[in-house]
Symmetry: C2
Subunit: 259 residues, 2 copies
């Protein structure tokens, strides 16, 4: 049984890919909706929230956790991993690898939350591989747009925000763009409309693919979904994003107040 953890609905882009690639895996999705958005939190606060969520998953008996959140993956994953014996898989390295292999020009852009861009985690990975040009841009509004359904490619609010944030990517002539926050693929249509010839690499999808390749255990394709606030709200959002009902109810998550 594998845990998939995000602050909200963004990690569903990883969950969807996991279930597509490996319908046999048993999965628990855990959304810390009581504390989203993560991307504007300080590292200490982020660590506290992530510790609680991953520990809740550990107590449910998962054998490892896909940290399907770009902010946690880029800012506090090494600190979190040192504290916990459970294997944690982040999204940075898989996304960097996928972007590197898909890019021809090796001019690669990175979009993330404010905290992710400050961490420079994706840039360090790309630089280590030899990327000629790396441009990064914090897009703090994208999470709210995705959480509130402003995701249609022709939505005027989404278009205005995309134009605001992505002008530097057009100017830098990147050929590949890492969507370093798992919420951002929900805006892929609007992003591709603005940057039509750019290859998009979703951090969640990349990490799901990497995890599946390394996951030999076969389960029964079971799924449980938890949210730390308002399960019904997450169920409605998930339905919109996944284009259909979740195959299970969303339950209120057990809290780990002692942490």
């Amino acid at each position: 049984m594998i845990g998939v953890f995000d602050s909200g609905v963004g990690g569903l882009t990883a969950l969807r890919e996991l279930r597509r690639l490996r319908p046999d895996l048993d999965l628990i999705y855990y959304a810390d909706t009581a504390h989203l958005p993560y991307g504007t939190r300080s590292p200490d606060t982020l660590l506290r929230y992530a510790r609680r969520s991953v520990t809740a998953l550990a107590r449910m008996g998962v054998e490892g956790v896909l940290v399907a959140c770009g902010t946690v993956s880029s800012v506090v994953l090494p600190r979190l991993q040192r504290e916990l014996s459970l294997p944690l898989w982040g999204v940075v390295e898989p996304a960097v690898q996928m972007a590197w292999h898909r890019s021809r020009s090796k001019r690669i852009g990175v979009l993330g939350t404010a905290a992710t861009v400050r961490s420079r985690a994706f840039e360090r990975g790309l630089s280590a591989l030899g990327s000629a040009v790396t441009v990064s841009r914090a897009c703090p509004l994208f999470v709210s747009l995705a959480e509130n359904g402003f995701t249609a490619p022709t939505d005027p609010v989404a278009q205005a925000a995309v134009a605001h944030y992505l002008a530097p990517m057009r100017a830098a002539e990147v050929d590949t763009l890492i969507l370093g926050c798992t919420h951002f693929p929900l805006l892929a249509g609007a992003i591709s409309r603005f940057l039509p010839r750019v290859t998009l690499v979703g951090a969640g999808e990349a990490s799901a693919a990497a995890l599946c390749a390394a996951q030999p255990r076969v389960g029964h394709g079971e799924l449980a979904v938890f949210a730390t606030d308002d399960p019904q709200a997450l169920a409605s959002q998930a339905e919109r994003i996944l284009g259909g009902h979740l195959p299970c109810p969303v339950r209120l998550a057990p809290t780990c107040k002692d942490l």
Copy 2:
């Protein structure tokens, strides 16, 4: 000493008005930035966050708290007040009164967070006074726009969001609009551009005016500011919003983890 409490920078619109009207008051501003935005939380989660914040202010010795948050004021204030002996002043009643007195047509609109609009607290107040037409609209993106600085009247993202949310207000021909979330006055320029002949009533300003009228105690004009996450981020935002440095540093708030 009076506490002023909000999830983030929105309550600064009330604080600014308090200090303008009564420079003698001693004030403590408390921003629960570790848990913002409040407007999409469930009532139980909202109550938990508000209880912690108000209790932290009580332990600092304030004699009452201006709940400068439209969501807490409209959704959980009666429950919170029953739990605590400290006087709590909300923004709903003062905003309703001010809107009623300023409106000629008594066609009044209400903007709020999703939780505020669901509560129907402003509409109940307006109906009790006899308002002929009340239209309300949840604007969940406005808090993110305000927190991330998309507030200029000509900002394309702000303009697109304002047009999206406020079309029903134009259609309903309201002459007065309650900005029922204290973040929303930060978008007043963009809102007035879209609805040029409509009178705007900021819930925070209205409540500050009502509180000052009823506050006989004179202090020394002292101010302390606390945030539950990243004090420097709040200081920078406050500087942008207030158009100058805060007269005091922002400190990390004491937490009330036992609640």
